[in-house]
């Protein structure tokens, strides 16, 4: 047998493999590397001591093994295994066996028997554990083979009595991963392992080693994950484990209890030491709540997290979690929350606290006080006050989930969430603000709560403030005083942090539209109108005034009586704002002659968005223009592009779509223009001057296509084809222009070949899309391909020219959602007249704060560019940690840019802008090439595809005034 195997191994040694490439020109022969197995065998035979052998094995393990030779390697290893007396070498072999059986494409059933056999005579516990691990790998590789699994489980059961915890651990793990999930199947397989896996695992809940206990619970959870319905009997066992001495056991037990509570929520369990019975989910909830005050914070985090997902729990249990009976000297005391509520309901508001205001009132019956409740009492109160912020965050999250499912609980937990706004850790504050936002449709804020919430508006962290603005967007406020308070605080915020302008306006927009009736009585005060006197007209550019107007106009939308309260200049301001801040100010139905000032006609059919229609209509028009005269085409294209661009500016939600198509049409226009040039008819030497236009057009089209491909999110493969097609056309144009302008044929050879290669790769990448491209440039080109390959460059150029002219204009299908990546640099503002002074030769840090929208993978693509007045440019890659993700599709870049320069005589401006880096390799096209195996992938990609890297500027440059001073001597 061994001799035969060895022969097989040596056969592989000289096997010749012929590699087929699609590209016939790169067809080549290749020798496979000498087979691993043979080398290993030689090494192992050479090894004189166990240490040597171990070294060889370690080296061997670093390199991957081909699928075909795995079995041979395994045989050699096993052969060596039986001979080896040193446990460490056997251990390594065992681990290698596991590693090898993981090799993709290898089916390990052939080595299973051998692996099981090795277990029989093994004495070392460590090796035994490793072997079981290997068996686990083998078992997981063979999911459709119940008999194999049965066998492995049987083996594991046999070793459960081992004295080493490691072995028992692995056995349990194996049973958990491979144990039969359906009872029926277990019975069909006639073996005796049909006994209950759960019982076997359950028996080890009381193992003497905590690690084994943990493994047992984990195995049970594993079984559950694989779909086995756990028995309810385990519940009482698991409850006992909650009092275990070891945290990992407790942590796992909490999970198990949670699983059981989800499986049997409605079954009834008795309460020990009384005759009462409660639902299992309530009991489990109480127990997990109890674990929120566990000694180990790992358990506390676990418990707090799981609480959130127990939504079937009864409401009075749930509400207990927020209950903490206060007392002082055995007298009942009211919590600050209760006092606040009472103050509020009694109509008195925020009186100064007096000494003894919180003095305890009623006497408490000493017998009735339960200091450590078995129930859920105060679990969240404890969790939210925990020392570790991990626990606090988990508690806030759980609170959020429970509140989302129970409105009454949401109302009750409000006080606690509001308290969390003052946590010492920013993350916790942020989390609680987000939580509050999520449950905001269930709640209405009381005035005193609103007060606390609004106090956070002065926070110096921008994230917090913005989160809070978003929270206010969707909060319900109960009184007009509340609205007034919110407005006042927001205006305060605005004066303190002017950069929050946009966010505050947006916030007020929603606040206004949600509470029109509450805003109505405030209008005269807010606009400071007077019944008899004319008041001075406020400054239209004052952000605070704009903020007030945004609130009022949005409220007026659903409150037709409000415009009557406006004074004349308000209407004028409305017209101005409606035009300049159209996304914040809604169209209003204004009475009488004032209607004229409204730019949007009132007869809007709400269902059909006219702008969307307009977009499609104009595109329709363009695509149907095949038969117009060239002049007409050009004009129509120009008009359409202009229309689209204007549309993009007006309708922010269509901007992406409009820009995208406009760019495409622009490319088309450029192409047509270039082809319309008279120059093509003239003999070569004469048009040297004019060709500037054609080559410039080609270049611009190339650039635009990169923009189209990488700057828009939501671009699908249908669009990518067309973009690539346009690029191909541009390249053809380039080729023709060069052919016309350069003399001699030599340089053309290379260019032609390159172009043909590109056509070829285009065909490979988009083979599935080709049928949709009837009559296009590439379609025609591919028809002519055999001719092109054989003909001379001049021929090729001629063919290209005619095809390019005859080819039709491809229809660009629009995806559902298309957004253009945009960036807006908030800081530096570029308004400062004070130069940033620093000593030349040293560096100065410039804070850059920018918002990015619709950028995919900003960490990899967004760069900061600094342009110095001397033309020197510096490209900075921000750290991945500098990007934050406040919402879907939005990113925020907050980073520092280090500047340095030699001394200047006077301050000068540098430009800072953001760039979007791209790499055509990374493009969506190359992702479509099927992945090849690791050894081939490097060679298979032709170097030409290695990509053009470039950058697209996508933000307005900001000027910063700097002044490097000469160093003082």
């Amino acid at each position: 047998m061994a001799a035969h195997l060895k022969k097989r191994v040596y056969e592989e040694f000289t096997k010749v493999v012929q590699q087929q490439h699609e590209d016939l020109s790169t067809k080549k022969l290749r020798l496979t590397k000498p087979s691993k197995s043979a080398a290993l065998h030689v090494d192992l035979c050479k090894a004189t001591s166990p240490a040597d052998a171990l070294q060889y094995l370690l080296q061997f393990a670093r390199k991957p093994v081909e699928v075909e030779s795995v079995e041979g390697v395994v045989r050699i290893l096993l052969e060596h295994y039986y001979k080896e007396s040193d446990a460490s070498v056997r251990l390594k072999i065992a681990s290698l066996l596991g590693l090898l059986s993981k090799t993709a494409g290898f089916s390990p059933d052939c080595i299973m028997d051998d692996a099981i056999n090795t277990l029989q005579n093994e004495k070392s516990h460590q090796v035994l554990a490793q072997l079981l691990d290997t068996l686990l790998v083998i078992g997981t590789k063979l999911p459709e083979n119940p008999s194999v699994r049965m066998r492995l489980v049987e083996v594991a059961c046999k070793h459960l009595t081992d004295s080493s915890h490691g072995v028992r651990n692995k056995c349990l793990q194996l049973i958990g991963c491979l144990g039969p999930v359906e009872k029926g199947v277990a019975k069909e397989v006639e073996s005796q392992a049909a006994k209950d896996v759960q019982k076997i695992i359950g028996d080890h809940f009381n193992d003497q080693d905590p690690r084994v206990r943990t493994a047992a619970i984990k195995a049970m959870l594993q079984l559950h994950e694989r779909g086995l319905k756990l028995q309810q009997a385990i519940y009482s066992q698991a409850c006992k484990l909650l009092a275990d001495d070891y945290e990992q056991v407790r942590s796992a037990a909490v999970q198990l209890i949670w699983v059981l509570s989800q499986l049997y929520p409605e079954s009834i369990v008795p309460i020990p030491s009384s005759n009462e019975e409660i639902r299992l989910v309530d009991d489990a909830f109480g127990k997990i709540c109890h674990m929120v005050s566990d000694g180990s914070w790992v358990v506390r985090v676990q418990a707090a997290k799981l609480l959130g997902s127990m939504q079937q729990v009864s409401s009075h249990f749930l509400e207990q979690t927020l209950d903490k009976k206060l007392m002082s000297d055995l007298r009942r005391k009211r919590t600050a929350h209760e006092r606040a509520k009472e103050l509020y309901s009694s109509g008195e508001f925020s009186s100064g606290r007096k000494w003894g205001d919180d003095a305890p009132k009623e006497e408490i019956d000493t017998g009735a006080v339960n200091l450590i409740e078995s129930g859920a009492c105060g679990a969240f109160v404890h969790g939210l006050e925990d020392e570790m912020y991990e626990v606090r965050i988990a508690a806030v999250e759980a609170l959020c989930m429970l509140a989302q499912s129970s409105p009454s609980f949401a109302e009750k937990c409000l006080d606690f969430l509001v308290d969390m706004f003052n946590d010492e850790i920013e993350e916790v504050r942020l989390q609680s603000i987000h939580t509050m936002r999520k449950i905001s449709n269930n709640i209405t804020l009381r005035e005193d709560q609103l007060d606390t919430v609004l106090a956070v508006l002065e926070d110096s962290s921008r994230d917090i403030r913005e989160a809070l603005h978003e929270l206010l967007c969707c909060t319900n406020v109960s009184t007009k005083e509340g609205i007034h308070l919110a407005l006042v605080e927001l205006l305060k915020n605005l004066t303190k942090y002017p950069t929050d302008r946009e966010s505050i306006w947006k916030c007020l927009k929603f606040l206004g539209s949600r509470h029109p009736t509450l805003v109505l009585p405030l209008v005269p005060e807010l606009l400071s109108t007077h019944p008899f006197f004319d008041t001075p007209e406020p400054d239209m550019d004052d952000p605070a005034y704009i903020a007030v107007l945004v609130l009022i106009f949005n409220a007026a939308k659903s409150c037709p009586t409000m415009p009557a309260l406006f004074s004349d200049h308000t209407f004028r301001h409305y017209a101005y704002l409606r035009d300049s801040l159209s996304h914040l100010v809604p169209p209003l139905r204004l009475p009488g002659r004032k209607l004229v000032s409204s730019p949007v006609s009132p007869s809007i059919t709400p269902h059909e968005d006219p702008s969307q229609q307009f977009l499609h209509q104009s595109l329709e028009r363009v695509y149907n223009l095949q038969h117009l005269d060239p002049q007409g085409i050009q004009e129509l294209l120009e008009f359409t592009i202009r229309d689209l661009q204007r549309l993009g500016e007006l309708q922010s939600e269509l901007a992406g779509m409009a820009d995208f198509t406009a760019t495409y049409l622009q490319c088309q226009l450029l192409l047509i223009k270039a082809l319309q040039e008279k120059l093509w008819n003239v003999a070569a030497p004469l048009y040297l001057k004019q060709n500037a236009l054609a080559s410039a057009a080609a270049k611009q089209i190339l650039e635009e296509t990169y923009k189209m491909e990488f700057m828009y999110s939501g671009v699908e493969s249908r669009q990518v084809v067309i973009i690539h097609h346009m690029r191909l056309q541009a390249k053809a144009l380039q080729l023709i222009v060069t052919a016309r302008t350069t003399r001699g044929v030599e340089p053309l050879f290379g260019m032609c070949e390159k172009f043909l290669q590109e056509v070829d790769s285009f065909q490979r990448c988009f083979i599935s899309e080709l049928p949709h491209m009837q009559g296009s440039f590439v379609d025609k080109l591919l028809d002519l391909m055999p001719r092109l390959v054989t003909s001379k460059p001049s021929e090729v150029v001629k063919i290209l020219q005619t095809t390019l002219r005859q080819s039709t204009f491809l229809h660009l299908p629009l995806p559902e959602q298309l957004h253009r990546a945009t960036a807006n640099i908030i800081e530096p503002t570029g308004e400062s007249d004070n130069p940033l002074r620093f000593t030349s030769g040293l560096v100065v840090a410039l804070d850059v704060d920018a918002t990015l929208e619709h950028v995919q993978d900003p960490q990899g693509t967004v760069k900061v560019q600094v342009l110095y007045p001397d033309g020197q440019a510096q490209l900075i890659h921000p750290k991945p940690a500098d990007f934050r993700n406040p919402g879907p599709g939005r990113h925020r870049l907050i980073t520092q840019v280090y500047l340095s320069h030699t001394a200047w005589t006077e301050p000068c401006q540098i430009e800072v802008r953001l760039l979007l880096a791209y790499n055509s390799n990374r493009s969506k096209a190359s992702a479509r090439i099927p992945k090849m195996t690791w050894s081939e992938s490097l060679e298979a990609l032709p170097p030409s595809e290695n990509g053009i890297e470039g950058t697209i500027p996508f933000s307005k440059p900001v000027k910063v005034y700097i002044m490097p001073k000469p160093a003082r001597r």
Partner: protein, 599 residues
């Protein structure tokens, strides 16, 4: 064997903590505090309780100080230098650093201000501190071969610790003062599940369950913020250490968060020195400070500056922390007099005030104060009370007991009436006995110490092989001989024991006669007995020997007719002492008689 404790101070009383614990022959003194309320001999614990004659050093094995508050360490120089103690004193590093400062301050006030004599001197404090051994958290310190101590984190103040004292397998945990809810600068107390025989816990707030600290903090910040925005001045009288730092951190972070500009001052001197130590002992603070100190040490205050007397007259808003905390003298009182007349200003009392102090008066609502020189001071400024206390409340105490799982609990450092309630609760909910000794009272607690015995491996393996798989949770019966020799216990096999002791083996047989009513012949009776036993004892080898006797394993049964009554048969059962279990079972079985059905 027992662990007992004697309270020299702090039994059913706050202040003057001093507890003496004798555990397995070792004597340990826990804390050595003074009483703030007295100025005579009663301010220090009565050390004559400890030993009537003989030196303290000979009697005490060590002294442990839990934290630097004077009611826990104030009597230390007196005790070690004036009464005379030369043994080791254990405390944590921060306590060792801060303790002498406070002692010196205390000495200055008593000696220099009040002019007392017969008090310890600066040199004595220094000498005393030389005897101190500093310990780290969770470090096990071997005091001598048997006695070991270990410190756990206790919150409360910087460096406060709980101590576990362990001799052999008996242990006591002493909590000192502790806090189960974290605050702005310290974490929560934590102890592992060490299952001590006795837990000595403070019980200052035995009958109180407190509200969440967040409300208090928020209220405090809101008050300060509002006043400062109005342009008013805020006075916060504090004691130099502990709460002052917490409030400083609270205000500092708030100022930072809210970008406020109004200046915050704290009085120079002691507070400044203390802040220095807080900066050094970062590892003793809470999670947030520990995690962020690499970027910035939280105690390097950006907004809080040292106070100068002249600043009090500056216009515009400001916040001032001034000592002492009860407004009875010093800087805080001076500032109070200056600011009291303006209703825009505010004073916030962050702690308890003793009766008779200005602090207590204004808290109880007095608006006109009589100062020295018959001046009448009208208080127009707002007066606020905020309780920032760092003791565990009833729930916290229960939580600690749950964490440690002690077998007995002893309450100290609290009022008797309140302790009574807590005691009852502890007994009811944990089912452990609870004690609350008065000063000078001794409590003895009986423990069940487990005594380790060496067993030879051979015997262990042999015995473990018999019967079912060993289970850690169940006791297992083993046979062997216990050898007590040279103060050590060993469990050996009987043969080895005989060999070691040089004794010959003696056979010991028990015989027993059982009377059975059976009119049949002897050999028939024997047969019946044989069949019966065979039926009952299925797992044992039961043999009927040719000489008419029956053996069950090595037990011999013979039957003879009764000499007087032929109807009665006498069964003679004989067994060696090793088979005692089976033998006695057999006799009881036979005494029940044979089954009636005779086949």
């Amino acid at each position: 064997l027992s662990a007992f404790s004697l309270c020299a101070g702090a039994g059913q009383d706050v202040g003057r903590s001093c507890i003496l614990v004798s555990i397995a022959g070792k004597n340990v003194m826990l804390d050595c505090g003074m009483h703030m309320g007295y100025n005579d001999d009663r301010r220090f614990p009565d050390f004559s309780y400890i030993t009537q004659n003989g030196r303290l050093t000979d009697f005490l094995d060590c002294v442990i100080i839990s934290h630097f508050h004077l009611d826990h360490c104030g009597a230390l120089p007196y005790f070690s230098e004036m009464v005379g103690y030369d043994g080791p004193i254990y405390m944590t590093h921060p306590t060792k650093a801060i303790c002498p400062i406070l002692l010196e301050d205390y000495r200055k006030i008593t000696v220099d201000k009040k002019g007392e004599t017969n008090f310890f001197t600066s040199q004595m404090i220094k000498d005393c501190m030389k005897k101190v051994v500093a310990v780290h958290l969770h470090q096990t310190v071997q005091v001598d071969e048997e006695l070991e101590i270990k410190a756990y984190y206790a919150g409360h103040v910087l460096g406060a610790a709980m101590f576990q004292i362990k001799v052999g397998c008996e242990s006591v945990v002493y909590t000192g003062d502790y806090n189960m809810t974290p605050d702005r600068h310290l974490g929560a107390a934590w102890v592992d599940k060490c299952r001590p025989d006795l837990l000595i816990t403070e019980s200052t707030y035995a009958t109180t369950i407190r509200d969440s600290k967040r409300c208090r903090e928020r209220d405090f910040l809101k008050k300060v913020h509002e006043t400062v925005e109005r342009g008013g001045k805020v006075l916060i009288p504090v004691f130099a250490l502990g709460r002052a730092q917490e409030l400083c951190i609270l205000l500092e972070t708030f100022w930072e968060r809210m970008n406020l500009k109004a200046p915050i001052y704290f009085s120079t001197g002691l507070t400044e020195k203390a802040n220095h130590y807080y900066k050094l002992f970062i590892t003793w603070t809470n999670q947030k400070i520990r995690k962020t100190f690499v970027q910035r040490n939280m105690f390097e205050f950006k907004h809080i500056k040292a106070f100068d007397r002249a600043f009090a007259d500056n216009p515009g808003p400001m916040v001032v922390f001034a000592t002492p905390g009860m407004l009875h003298a010093g800087q805080s009182l001076q500032i109070f007099r200056k600011w009291a007349g303006n209703e825009k200003n505010m004073v916030i009392m962050p702690g308890y005030c003793v009766q008779g102090t200005v602090g207590h008066k204004i808290l109880s609502g007095q608006r006109k104060l009589e100062m020295e020189g018959r001046q009448i001071l009208e208080v127009k400024m707002q007066v606020e009370y905020m309780s920032f206390s760092a003791h565990a409340d009833a729930k916290g105490i229960m939580q600690l007991i749950r964490q440690a799982e002690p077998r007995n609990v002893l309450l100290v450092h609290g009022e008797a009436k309140k302790m009574e309630f807590l005691k009852q609760k502890i007994e009811q909910e944990f089912h452990v006995s609870c004690y609350m000794p008065a000063n000078g009272e001794t409590t003895s607690i009986f423990t069940n110490p487990s005594i380790p015995v060496d067993i030879s491996l051979g015997l262990l393996k042999r015995e473990a092989a018999i019967g079912p798989v060993p289970d850690a949770k169940k006791p297992k019966l083993m046979h062997g001989t216990l050898l007590m020799k040279d103060n050590s216990f060993r469990l050996v096999s009987p043969e080895q024991a005989l060999k070691e002791l040089g004794l010959a083996e003696h056979q010991l047989r028990f015989t027993c006669r059982v009377h059975i009513q059976d009119p049949r012949k002897e050999h028939e009776t024997v047969l019946r007995v044989y069949n019966h036993l065979k039926g009952v004892l299925k797992d044992y080898s039961v043999q009927h020997l040719p000489d008419g006797s029956i053996t069950v394993e090595s037990i011999l049964i013979q039957a003879t007719a009764h000499s007087e009554d032929q109807g009665t048969k006498v069964l003679l059962v004989s067994w060696t002492y090793q088979d005692e279990e089976l033998g006695s079972y057999l006799t009881s079985l036979l005494k029940k008689g044979l089954p009636q059905s005779t086949a």
